[in-house]
Subunit: 165 residues, 2 copies
DNA sequence: TTATACTGATACTAAATTAGTATCATTTAT
DNA sequence: ATAAATGATACTAATTTAGTATCAGTATAA
Protein backbone atom coordinates (compact mmCIF):
# COMPACT_ATOMS: atom_id res chain seq x y z
CA UNK A 1 0.00 0.00 0.00
CA UNK A 2 1.79 3.02 -1.25
CA UNK A 3 0.64 6.20 0.41
CA UNK A 4 2.69 8.85 -1.34
CA UNK A 5 3.79 8.82 -4.94
CA UNK A 6 7.14 10.22 -6.03
CA UNK A 7 5.38 13.35 -7.19
CA UNK A 8 4.22 14.16 -3.72
CA UNK A 9 7.37 12.97 -2.06
CA UNK A 10 9.59 15.09 -4.26
CA UNK A 11 7.27 18.05 -3.96
CA UNK A 12 7.45 18.05 -0.20
CA UNK A 13 11.19 17.61 -0.18
CA UNK A 14 11.50 20.51 -2.59
CA UNK A 15 9.27 22.60 -0.37
CA UNK A 16 11.46 21.75 2.59
CA UNK A 17 14.47 23.06 0.70
CA UNK A 18 12.60 26.22 -0.19
CA UNK A 19 11.53 26.52 3.42
CA UNK A 20 15.13 26.61 4.54
CA UNK A 21 15.75 29.45 2.10
CA UNK A 22 12.68 31.54 2.71
CA UNK A 23 12.53 34.67 0.60
CA UNK A 24 15.23 33.49 -1.79
CA UNK A 25 14.79 32.02 -5.21
CA UNK A 26 16.27 28.57 -5.54
CA UNK A 27 16.71 26.99 -8.95
CA UNK A 28 15.33 23.62 -9.94
CA UNK A 29 18.85 22.54 -10.74
CA UNK A 30 20.03 23.23 -7.20
CA UNK A 31 17.13 21.42 -5.60
CA UNK A 32 17.50 18.53 -8.00
CA UNK A 33 21.14 18.10 -7.12
CA UNK A 34 20.76 18.59 -3.41
CA UNK A 35 17.90 16.12 -3.15
CA UNK A 36 18.79 13.68 -5.90
CA UNK A 37 15.54 14.30 -7.71
CA UNK A 38 15.52 13.82 -11.50
CA UNK A 39 15.79 17.32 -12.90
CA UNK A 40 13.07 17.28 -15.55
CA UNK A 41 10.67 15.51 -13.28
CA UNK A 42 11.25 18.09 -10.60
CA UNK A 43 10.73 20.92 -13.08
CA UNK A 44 7.21 19.77 -13.74
CA UNK A 45 6.52 19.38 -10.07
CA UNK A 46 7.69 22.90 -9.35
CA UNK A 47 5.57 24.29 -12.16
CA UNK A 48 2.62 22.56 -10.58
CA UNK A 49 3.36 24.04 -7.18
CA UNK A 50 3.53 27.41 -8.88
CA UNK A 51 0.19 27.00 -10.55
CA UNK A 52 -1.29 26.14 -7.20
CA UNK A 53 0.11 29.24 -5.59
CA UNK A 54 2.36 27.55 -3.07
CA UNK A 55 5.40 29.07 -4.76
CA UNK A 56 6.28 31.76 -7.25
CA UNK A 57 9.04 31.75 -9.78
CA UNK A 58 11.41 34.14 -11.44
CA UNK A 59 12.66 33.45 -14.93
CA UNK A 60 16.10 33.98 -16.32
CA UNK A 61 19.55 33.81 -14.82
CA UNK A 62 19.51 33.79 -11.03
CA UNK A 63 15.89 32.91 -11.25
CA UNK A 64 14.24 30.02 -9.55
CA UNK A 65 11.39 29.20 -7.28
CA UNK A 66 10.49 30.80 -3.99
CA UNK A 67 8.06 29.89 -1.25
CA UNK A 68 5.02 32.10 -1.55
CA UNK A 69 2.77 30.97 1.26
CA UNK A 70 3.70 30.82 4.89
CA UNK A 71 5.10 27.38 5.81
CA UNK A 72 2.49 27.10 8.52
CA UNK A 73 -0.19 27.57 5.91
CA UNK A 74 1.03 24.74 3.72
CA UNK A 75 -0.41 21.40 4.69
CA UNK A 76 0.91 18.09 3.51
CA UNK A 77 -2.64 17.28 2.58
CA UNK A 78 -2.68 20.16 0.10
CA UNK A 79 0.35 18.75 -1.63
CA UNK A 80 -1.11 15.27 -1.72
CA UNK A 81 -4.28 16.62 -3.23
CA UNK A 82 -2.41 18.47 -5.94
CA UNK A 83 -0.61 15.36 -7.11
CA UNK A 84 -2.83 12.49 -6.08
CA UNK A 85 -6.27 13.96 -5.88
CA UNK A 86 -8.55 14.16 -2.86
CA UNK A 87 -7.96 11.65 -0.13
CA UNK A 88 -11.66 11.00 -0.07
CA UNK A 89 -13.25 9.37 -3.07
CA UNK A 90 -13.28 5.63 -2.95
CA UNK A 91 -15.28 5.72 -6.16
CA UNK A 92 -18.47 5.59 -4.15
CA UNK A 93 -20.79 8.23 -5.48
CA UNK A 94 -22.15 8.38 -1.99
CA UNK A 95 -25.79 7.83 -2.60
CA UNK A 96 -25.99 8.37 -6.31
CA UNK A 97 -27.09 4.83 -6.92
CA UNK A 98 -28.41 4.42 -3.44
CA UNK A 99 -26.47 1.48 -2.17
CA UNK A 100 -27.39 -0.73 -5.09
CA UNK A 101 -24.92 -3.21 -3.82
CA UNK A 102 -25.15 -3.50 -0.09
CA UNK A 103 -21.95 -5.48 0.26
CA UNK A 104 -19.88 -2.65 -1.18
CA UNK A 105 -21.85 -0.13 0.76
CA UNK A 106 -21.03 -1.60 4.12
CA UNK A 107 -17.37 -1.68 3.22
CA UNK A 108 -17.39 1.82 1.79
CA UNK A 109 -18.72 3.26 4.97
CA UNK A 110 -15.72 1.99 6.84
CA UNK A 111 -13.29 3.09 4.19
CA UNK A 112 -14.76 6.55 4.15
CA UNK A 113 -14.38 6.75 7.88
CA UNK A 114 -10.74 5.82 7.67
CA UNK A 115 -10.11 8.16 4.78
CA UNK A 116 -11.55 10.88 6.94
CA UNK A 117 -8.99 10.13 9.60
CA UNK A 118 -6.11 10.04 7.16
CA UNK A 119 -7.21 13.27 5.60
CA UNK A 120 -7.41 14.94 8.98
CA UNK A 121 -3.99 13.69 9.99
CA UNK A 122 -2.31 14.86 6.81
CA UNK A 123 -4.16 18.12 7.21
CA UNK A 124 -2.47 18.68 10.52
CA UNK A 125 1.04 18.33 9.25
CA UNK A 126 2.27 21.66 7.98
CA UNK A 127 5.46 22.49 6.19
CA UNK A 128 6.26 24.64 9.18
CA UNK A 129 6.12 21.64 11.47
CA UNK A 130 8.30 19.57 9.19
CA UNK A 131 10.83 22.39 9.05
CA UNK A 132 10.97 22.51 12.81
CA UNK A 133 11.48 18.76 13.00
CA UNK A 134 14.19 19.06 10.43
CA UNK A 135 15.99 21.77 12.32
CA UNK A 136 15.86 19.78 15.52
CA UNK A 137 17.13 16.71 13.74
CA UNK A 138 20.00 18.62 12.24
CA UNK A 139 20.83 20.21 15.56
CA UNK A 140 21.24 16.94 17.40
CA UNK A 141 23.01 15.38 14.44
CA UNK A 142 25.45 18.27 14.22
CA UNK A 143 26.51 17.71 17.81
CA UNK A 144 27.75 14.36 16.70
CA UNK A 145 29.76 15.86 13.86
CA UNK A 146 27.54 15.05 10.89
CA UNK A 147 27.42 17.39 7.94
CA UNK A 148 24.78 19.58 6.45
CA UNK A 149 21.21 18.83 5.41
CA UNK A 150 22.19 17.32 2.12
CA UNK A 151 21.86 14.14 0.20
CA UNK A 152 24.42 11.38 0.30
CA UNK A 153 22.44 8.41 -0.93
CA UNK A 154 20.91 7.78 -4.36
CA UNK A 155 23.47 8.73 -7.00
CA UNK A 156 21.21 10.85 -9.16
CA UNK A 157 19.58 8.80 -11.88
CA UNK A 158 20.25 11.26 -14.61
CA UNK A 159 23.07 10.71 -17.01
CA UNK A 160 23.99 14.09 -18.33
CA UNK A 161 21.21 16.50 -18.88
CA UNK A 162 23.13 18.73 -21.25
CA UNK A 163 20.72 21.56 -21.36
CA UNK A 164 22.95 23.43 -23.77
CA UNK A 165 21.76 24.33 -27.22
CA UNK B 1 -5.61 8.18 -3.46
CA UNK B 2 -6.91 4.73 -3.97
CA UNK B 3 -7.05 2.75 -0.76
CA UNK B 4 -8.33 -0.60 -1.88
CA UNK B 5 -7.65 -2.32 -5.17
CA UNK B 6 -10.24 -4.44 -6.94
CA UNK B 7 -8.55 -7.53 -5.63
CA UNK B 8 -9.22 -6.55 -2.06
CA UNK B 9 -12.62 -5.11 -2.77
CA UNK B 10 -13.82 -8.22 -4.55
CA UNK B 11 -12.27 -10.45 -1.92
CA UNK B 12 -14.16 -8.79 0.88
CA UNK B 13 -17.39 -8.82 -1.03
CA UNK B 14 -16.90 -12.49 -1.73
CA UNK B 15 -16.22 -13.11 1.93
CA UNK B 16 -19.41 -11.29 2.81
CA UNK B 17 -21.34 -13.62 0.55
CA UNK B 18 -19.67 -16.61 2.14
CA UNK B 19 -20.40 -15.13 5.53
CA UNK B 20 -24.10 -15.12 4.78
CA UNK B 21 -23.88 -18.80 3.88
CA UNK B 22 -21.71 -20.05 6.68
CA UNK B 23 -20.98 -23.75 6.52
CA UNK B 24 -22.14 -24.08 2.92
CA UNK B 25 -19.99 -24.27 -0.16
CA UNK B 26 -20.72 -21.50 -2.63
CA UNK B 27 -19.35 -21.67 -6.16
CA UNK B 28 -17.26 -18.98 -7.77
CA UNK B 29 -19.86 -18.78 -10.51
CA UNK B 30 -22.60 -17.93 -8.04
CA UNK B 31 -20.58 -15.28 -6.26
CA UNK B 32 -19.46 -13.85 -9.55
CA UNK B 33 -23.02 -13.46 -10.77
CA UNK B 34 -24.44 -12.19 -7.53
CA UNK B 35 -21.75 -9.57 -7.09
CA UNK B 36 -20.98 -8.72 -10.70
CA UNK B 37 -17.36 -9.72 -10.31
CA UNK B 38 -15.54 -11.00 -13.41
CA UNK B 39 -15.55 -14.77 -13.05
CA UNK B 40 -11.93 -15.61 -13.83
CA UNK B 41 -10.66 -12.75 -11.77
CA UNK B 42 -12.72 -13.91 -8.83
CA UNK B 43 -11.47 -17.47 -9.25
CA UNK B 44 -7.93 -16.37 -8.63
CA UNK B 45 -8.95 -14.30 -5.67
CA UNK B 46 -10.74 -17.22 -4.09
CA UNK B 47 -7.75 -19.47 -4.64
CA UNK B 48 -5.66 -16.91 -2.83
CA UNK B 49 -8.06 -16.79 0.08
CA UNK B 50 -7.84 -20.56 0.20
CA UNK B 51 -4.09 -20.56 0.30
CA UNK B 52 -4.22 -18.14 3.16
CA UNK B 53 -6.56 -20.31 5.12
CA UNK B 54 -9.51 -17.94 5.26
CA UNK B 55 -11.57 -20.38 3.25
CA UNK B 56 -11.52 -23.98 2.11
CA UNK B 57 -12.80 -25.40 -1.10
CA UNK B 58 -14.37 -28.55 -2.41
CA UNK B 59 -13.79 -29.64 -5.96
CA UNK B 60 -16.22 -31.15 -8.39
CA UNK B 61 -19.93 -30.72 -8.91
CA UNK B 62 -21.66 -29.02 -6.01
CA UNK B 63 -18.25 -27.88 -4.90
CA UNK B 64 -17.25 -24.35 -4.10
CA UNK B 65 -15.71 -22.30 -1.41
CA UNK B 66 -16.62 -22.14 2.22
CA UNK B 67 -15.65 -19.86 5.05
CA UNK B 68 -13.09 -21.60 7.21
CA UNK B 69 -12.27 -19.08 9.91
CA UNK B 70 -14.74 -17.44 12.19
CA UNK B 71 -15.96 -14.14 10.72
CA UNK B 72 -14.87 -12.37 13.88
CA UNK B 73 -11.37 -13.67 13.33
CA UNK B 74 -11.10 -12.27 9.83
CA UNK B 75 -9.88 -8.71 9.75
CA UNK B 76 -10.09 -6.44 6.75
CA UNK B 77 -6.43 -5.73 7.33
CA UNK B 78 -5.61 -9.40 6.73
CA UNK B 79 -7.32 -9.27 3.37
CA UNK B 80 -5.56 -6.04 2.42
CA UNK B 81 -2.25 -7.56 3.33
CA UNK B 82 -2.87 -10.62 1.20
CA UNK B 83 -3.56 -8.59 -1.90
CA UNK B 84 -1.73 -5.33 -1.37
CA UNK B 85 1.02 -6.15 1.04
CA UNK B 86 1.63 -4.70 4.48
CA UNK B 87 0.20 -1.31 5.18
CA UNK B 88 3.50 -0.31 6.66
CA UNK B 89 6.50 0.02 4.41
CA UNK B 90 6.90 3.43 2.93
CA UNK B 91 10.08 2.15 1.34
CA UNK B 92 12.01 3.55 4.26
CA UNK B 93 14.35 0.89 5.44
CA UNK B 94 13.93 2.45 8.82
CA UNK B 95 17.46 3.10 9.83
CA UNK B 96 19.32 1.03 7.31
CA UNK B 97 20.94 4.03 5.75
CA UNK B 98 20.58 6.06 8.87
CA UNK B 99 18.58 9.01 7.68
CA UNK B 100 20.99 9.83 4.90
CA UNK B 101 18.50 12.31 3.65
CA UNK B 102 17.01 14.25 6.50
CA UNK B 103 14.25 15.78 4.39
CA UNK B 104 12.80 12.39 3.59
CA UNK B 105 13.34 11.23 7.12
CA UNK B 106 11.21 13.92 8.66
CA UNK B 107 8.42 13.14 6.24
CA UNK B 108 8.69 9.41 6.70
CA UNK B 109 8.25 9.69 10.42
CA UNK B 110 4.89 11.29 9.91
CA UNK B 111 3.85 8.85 7.23
CA UNK B 112 4.78 5.93 9.41
CA UNK B 113 2.72 7.36 12.20
CA UNK B 114 -0.30 7.66 9.93
CA UNK B 115 0.22 4.23 8.45
CA UNK B 116 0.17 2.92 11.98
CA UNK B 117 -3.23 4.48 12.49
CA UNK B 118 -4.62 3.15 9.25
CA UNK B 119 -3.32 -0.30 10.00
CA UNK B 120 -4.90 -0.27 13.43
CA UNK B 121 -8.22 0.91 12.06
CA UNK B 122 -8.38 -1.74 9.36
CA UNK B 123 -7.32 -4.23 11.95
CA UNK B 124 -10.39 -3.45 13.98
CA UNK B 125 -12.87 -4.10 11.22
CA UNK B 126 -13.77 -7.77 11.15
CA UNK B 127 -15.85 -9.65 8.66
CA UNK B 128 -18.19 -10.32 11.56
CA UNK B 129 -18.75 -6.63 12.04
CA UNK B 130 -19.39 -6.05 8.36
CA UNK B 131 -21.88 -8.89 8.33
CA UNK B 132 -23.74 -7.35 11.22
CA UNK B 133 -23.83 -3.99 9.47
CA UNK B 134 -25.07 -5.69 6.36
CA UNK B 135 -27.84 -7.46 8.20
CA UNK B 136 -28.98 -4.25 9.83
CA UNK B 137 -28.91 -2.48 6.52
CA UNK B 138 -30.97 -5.17 4.89
CA UNK B 139 -33.41 -5.21 7.76
CA UNK B 140 -34.26 -1.52 7.54
CA UNK B 141 -34.28 -1.66 3.75
CA UNK B 142 -36.64 -4.61 3.74
CA UNK B 143 -39.16 -2.69 5.79
CA UNK B 144 -39.39 -0.32 2.89
CA UNK B 145 -40.03 -3.15 0.45
CA UNK B 146 -36.61 -3.47 -1.18
CA UNK B 147 -35.41 -6.84 -2.37
CA UNK B 148 -32.62 -9.15 -1.35
CA UNK B 149 -28.92 -8.54 -0.86
CA UNK B 150 -28.05 -8.75 -4.51
CA UNK B 151 -26.53 -6.71 -7.21
CA UNK B 152 -28.50 -4.52 -9.56
CA UNK B 153 -25.84 -2.19 -10.92
CA UNK B 154 -22.82 -3.02 -13.08
CA UNK B 155 -23.93 -5.35 -15.85
CA UNK B 156 -21.16 -7.89 -15.51
CA UNK B 157 -18.24 -7.12 -17.80
CA UNK B 158 -17.90 -10.59 -19.12
CA UNK B 159 -19.18 -11.45 -22.56
CA UNK B 160 -19.78 -15.15 -22.54
CA UNK B 161 -17.42 -17.25 -20.56
CA UNK B 162 -18.35 -20.46 -22.24
CA UNK B 163 -16.59 -22.80 -19.92
CA UNK B 164 -17.84 -25.74 -21.89
CA UNK B 165 -15.50 -28.06 -23.69
C1' DT C 1 24.62 41.94 -28.06
C1' DT C 2 25.51 37.59 -27.10
C1' DA C 3 26.21 33.69 -24.09
C1' DT C 4 24.28 31.66 -20.12
C1' DA C 5 21.17 30.25 -16.63
C1' DC C 6 16.98 30.05 -15.77
C1' DT C 7 11.34 29.02 -16.21
C1' DG C 8 6.86 27.88 -19.18
C1' DA C 9 4.56 24.72 -21.75
C1' DT C 10 3.94 20.43 -23.52
C1' DA C 11 4.78 16.09 -25.80
C1' DC C 12 6.76 11.85 -25.34
C1' DT C 13 8.62 7.16 -23.57
C1' DA C 14 9.35 3.64 -20.13
C1' DA C 15 8.32 1.01 -16.18
C1' DA C 16 5.35 -0.77 -12.88
C1' DT C 17 1.05 -2.01 -11.18
C1' DT C 18 -3.60 -3.33 -11.56
C1' DA C 19 -7.30 -5.52 -13.96
C1' DG C 20 -8.97 -8.92 -16.59
C1' DT C 21 -8.83 -13.34 -19.79
C1' DA C 22 -7.74 -17.99 -21.17
C1' DT C 23 -6.42 -22.84 -20.89
C1' DC C 24 -5.83 -27.30 -19.30
C1' DA C 25 -5.70 -30.73 -15.79
C1' DT C 26 -8.15 -32.83 -12.07
C1' DT C 27 -11.93 -33.85 -8.89
C1' DT C 28 -16.67 -35.09 -7.62
C1' DA C 29 -21.81 -35.75 -7.87
C1' DT C 30 -25.25 -37.64 -10.48
C1' DA D 1 -20.00 -40.70 -19.06
C1' DT D 2 -21.02 -36.01 -18.33
C1' DA D 3 -21.44 -31.76 -16.19
C1' DA D 4 -20.03 -28.67 -12.68
C1' DA D 5 -16.79 -27.44 -10.05
C1' DT D 6 -11.59 -26.09 -8.34
C1' DG D 7 -6.10 -26.00 -8.99
C1' DA D 8 -2.48 -24.12 -11.30
C1' DT D 9 -0.60 -20.99 -14.22
C1' DA D 10 0.24 -18.25 -18.29
C1' DC D 11 -1.16 -14.50 -20.75
C1' DT D 12 -3.03 -9.75 -22.37
C1' DA D 13 -4.89 -5.17 -21.68
C1' DA D 14 -5.52 -0.93 -19.32
C1' DT D 15 -4.11 2.43 -16.23
C1' DT D 16 -1.08 4.91 -13.47
C1' DT D 17 3.36 6.39 -12.14
C1' DA D 18 7.95 7.70 -13.28
C1' DG D 19 11.01 9.73 -16.02
C1' DT D 20 12.89 12.20 -20.51
C1' DA D 21 13.12 15.55 -24.17
C1' DT D 22 12.37 19.78 -26.68
C1' DC D 23 11.54 24.35 -27.79
C1' DA D 24 10.23 29.01 -26.80
C1' DG D 25 10.90 32.87 -23.92
C1' DT D 26 13.09 35.85 -20.10
C1' DA D 27 16.52 37.95 -17.14
C1' DT D 28 21.49 38.67 -15.95
C1' DA D 29 25.86 39.83 -16.82
C1' DA D 30 30.24 39.79 -19.57
S1 LIG E 1 -23.21 4.71 0.58
FE1 LIG E 1 -21.79 4.26 -1.01
S2 LIG E 1 -22.51 2.32 -1.77
FE2 LIG E 1 -23.92 2.77 -0.16
S1 LIG F 1 14.10 6.99 9.70
FE1 LIG F 1 13.65 6.54 7.61
S2 LIG F 1 14.84 8.06 6.53
FE2 LIG F 1 15.28 8.47 8.62
Amino acid sequence: MKVLTKNTDYAIRALLVLGTHEGEYVSARQISQQQGIPYQFLRRILQELNKNGLTTSREGAHGGVRLEKNPDAIRVRDVIEIFQGKVELSECMFRKQICANRASCVLRHEIMRIEEIVSREFGQITLGKLLTDLTKLNATATMEHTDEFEIINSGSHEKTDSNHR
